[in-house]
């Protein structure tokens, strides 16, 4: 009798803890290569006289979850991770890598979207149209490195992936815990192209 009275709540507690652990440990959504899932679209490498540039497009970045989050007033951060490697037998040698952020937010009163370029020296653009705002966010062009660091005839690899994060909803009750229990955001797979210099 005593055993039941002690073990029954413990069972409940453990089940609860199991749920907590499962929720806490669950990864955010990793989208595969389906038509509507976010993915890295076009990667283009170009150069001027001095530098190497990369153009990247994120496709299907505006998922319903992102849109819903934006309309709730929260900012969504899109992070692009780009790296340039010199391929080797086992693992390529990373020549450079950088992270580029685009922050998209929505003002429900003014019914307009604000795109911030960052993270260094942020630039803001206000747009009325979500698709236009999306174009600003999902198409990036960045200078990768100096051409002097590249050797002619050598093959290089550009790897890109992107993910979305939401701004912390600080005003929500149990904000920290809510974040833990929210499967929010996505992360694309790495996409890579090789080119010969």
């Amino acid at each position: 009798m005593a055993k039941d009275s002690i073990w029954s709540p413990l069972l409940c507690i453990f089940l609860g803890l199991a749920i907590v652990s499962a929720e806490a440990a669950a990864p955010s959504t990793l989208y595969g290569d389906t038509d509507s899932t976010p993915r890295i679209g076009r990667i283009a490498v170009s150069a001027d006289l001095k530098h190497l540039y990369v153009d990247v497009t994120l496709e299907n970045g505006l998922t319903p979850q992102v849109v819903e989050t934006l309309q709730s007033g929260l900012s969504v951060i899109f992070v692009y991770e780009i790296s340039l490697e010199s391929p080797r037998i086992i693992k390529g040698k990373e020549l450079t890598s950088k992270k580029i952020e685009r922050v998209l937010s929505y003002d429900s009163l003014k019914n307009e979207y604000l795109v911030a370029y960052g993270p260094a020296k942020p630039v803001y653009i206000t747009l009325k149209d979500l698709d236009k705002a999306g174009e600003e966010v999902f198409h990036i062009r960045t200078r990768l490195l100096s051409l002097a660091r590249l050797r002619p005839g050598q093959v290089y690899k550009v790897r890109v992936r992107a993910w979305a994060e939401k701004e912390q909803q600080s005003l929500l009750p149990f904000g920290g815990m809510v974040k833990m229990f929210t499967r929010w955001g996505y992360k694309t797979k790495w996409k890579e192209i090789t080119f010969s210099y």
Binding site: M1, A2, K3, S5, I6, S8, P9, L10, C12, I13, F14, G16, L17, I19, V20, E23, A24, A25, P27, S28, E68, T69, Q71, S72, G73, L74, I77, D107, S108, L109, K110, N111, V123, Y124, I125, T126, E165, K166, E167, Q168, Q169, S170, L171, L172, P173, F174, G175, G176, M177, V178, K179, M180, F181, T182, R183, W184, G185
Partner: protein, 760 residues
Amino acid sequence: MNHPGKVDSTAAEQQRRKREKIVILCAIPLIIALSVVEYFLVPGRGPIPAGGSLAIFAIINVNILLILLLLFLIVRNLVKLIFEDRQNVLGAKLRTKMVIAFVSLSLLPTVTLFFVSYEFLKTSLNYWFDVKVERSLHNALIVGRTFYEERVSQLQATAQTAGRYTALKCITGNSTIDVPCVQQAFGSMTPIPGGGRGGEISIHSLELLSESGEKIYSKTWLPLVEDVPPIRQSIIEQAVKEQGPVVTGTRVDNGELIRALRPVRDERGEVIAILVLGNLIPSNLSQMLDDIRKGYEDYKQLKLFQNPMRAAVLVNLLLITLIILFFSIWLGFRLAKGITEPVQMLAEATYRVAQGDLDFSLKARGKDELSSLVKAFNTMTKDLKEARRRAMQASRDLQKSYQELEQRQRYIEIILQNVAAGVISIDAGGVVTTVNRSAERILGISAREVIGKPYQVILPPDQAEEFESIKNDLRSSSRGTLQRSIRLKRDGRDLFLIASFTQLKDQEGNPYGVVVVFDDMTELEKIQRMAAWREVARRIAHEVKNPLTPIQLSAERLRRKCMGELDDDLQGIFDRCTRTIITQTEELRRLVNEFSNFARMPAPRLRPVDLKEVLEEVVIMYKEGHPGIEFKFEADEVPKALFDQDQIKRAVINLLDNSVAATGEGGTIAVQVELDHQEETISISVSDTGTGVRPEDRDRLFEPYFSRKKDGTGLGLAIVSSIVSDHEGTITVKPNVPRGTVFTMTFPLKWDNGSKEERA
């Protein structure tokens, strides 16, 4: 019932406390480390404040550890309880009951509170996300948005109108802006009338910017604001690109300034300036609009994170419930322990006290009733210890007294056992209680056989009657002591005892029995009688011997003088008479000589004697004297011992004389000398195949003047007995088998120094 040995477990308790501290010290860094690890492991980490997440992880980890600890404690305590219950450890059942009661009492309200709280929160959440609320918020947002858009469209319209006017009137010929014209056109007017759809709008700021964003002209009608904040370059660039006015909002001290940027183009369509008109939404209004927006966004966020929030609430509730449960169960164990431990301690202490261990004291903690009980128990133990100390002291004293008494009793017993006199005690009931060794020896009885038996059973009726009369005499005696001489027959031998009867009385004077102390006076009497007979013999010898010579001489003279003068008849008579006188005188002389010898028996002069040689000579002499009798002589190798040779020789001759007299022709007489090494005695036996001795005569054989022979003086065996006594020996007479008599003289072996060395 099982009773653990130790009650005072201070050392064990301290060790346990130390262990717990170590566990806690290890747990704290573990919690921190786990929290940090989890923080970095959990994906989707955004701009969340790191401290908040860490705190949550820390709380979860603390809870997990607490749960594990709780589990460990519960399992450990349950196992311990079950084990102790099976082992019948004192207090285990009580603790089990108390733990069950405490856990049940804590579990019920906690779980109830958990479910009620959860239901309550669920209801509240449902209420938050009610459709009406959502609709109201949305409508409020639409209203706010409409107001704002209306204000923006009016401002845009005004900016459009103002832009057209400026383009028409205030551009100089070289395609530059005419600032005074603009100043004149708009600087003195407030509010600037709106030219659009929504009627008029107040213009609170006017700016004229170059294409690159440099300020050409600026005028504000804003209260409390000297100058308007600059516009972001990107907005300016956007305005240049756009055909229509671009609107931007800026937060200022007294509200939100909405500004519409209208590029002013020359005839060629080149932007030569940007006209910026601003309208201030007052603080109260802008605050309201912000509130509407914020309320709507908050609601949308709440709705967006409705399910995670439910989970967070549930987890929070769970955590709180777990903490409450942990503490309540822990408290349950603690309280149960607090009650049962002193009880168990007391029970164990009682067991130890029952086992006789009083050298301990229980630790009284707190000031409650149990503590008072423990203190009272300690006082009781202390008193018991003191009482036991006294009792042990008394016991030691008693034991000492008992030992002394026992020693004294043993001493008395030793005296009693070794005293030459016989001692017999009889209790008041007539039961024999004590018989000492001398009494056993004298009376020829065994103490084991008579002790515990009433004297009426032991004694023959006549003696019992006699003892009864003695008892009666004792009672009537004032001194309580009587002396009696007693003659007894033992194994056909007469015993002469002098007995002293003393009545025993206890402290109150009640009769306690009778103690009889007696001495064997048989030998003494014999000696006395012998001495008396010697005296008689000496006197007879002295008185009779003197007249014998004159009588004999006279008779011989008469024969010599008168024989020839008498006639034949008288001569014959005279001859017979004188001869008779002479013969009888000779006989009397012989008799007197015997008496004289008996009376003058000297003390033995002990010298080393070779008995074998001496006795062999005697036997040879008798062989020659009595050829019709067979004489045998057997002797062990006897060393020279101290004897009076003449006396021993005489004793053996006396015995041989008797044997010869008793044995007829064809008989056998044997002399045997034996050495008993163990007893250290030498015995000389003279046996014959003669007529033997009648049993009734055996006791009197050695008395002087007792003889069955016609011509016997009755002194031969008396002399033998006297010689044997003088040599501290004994003489016995037994019938010989198949007939005749055996006399055995047994002497203690006495060595002279030379013989001893020789023997060695």
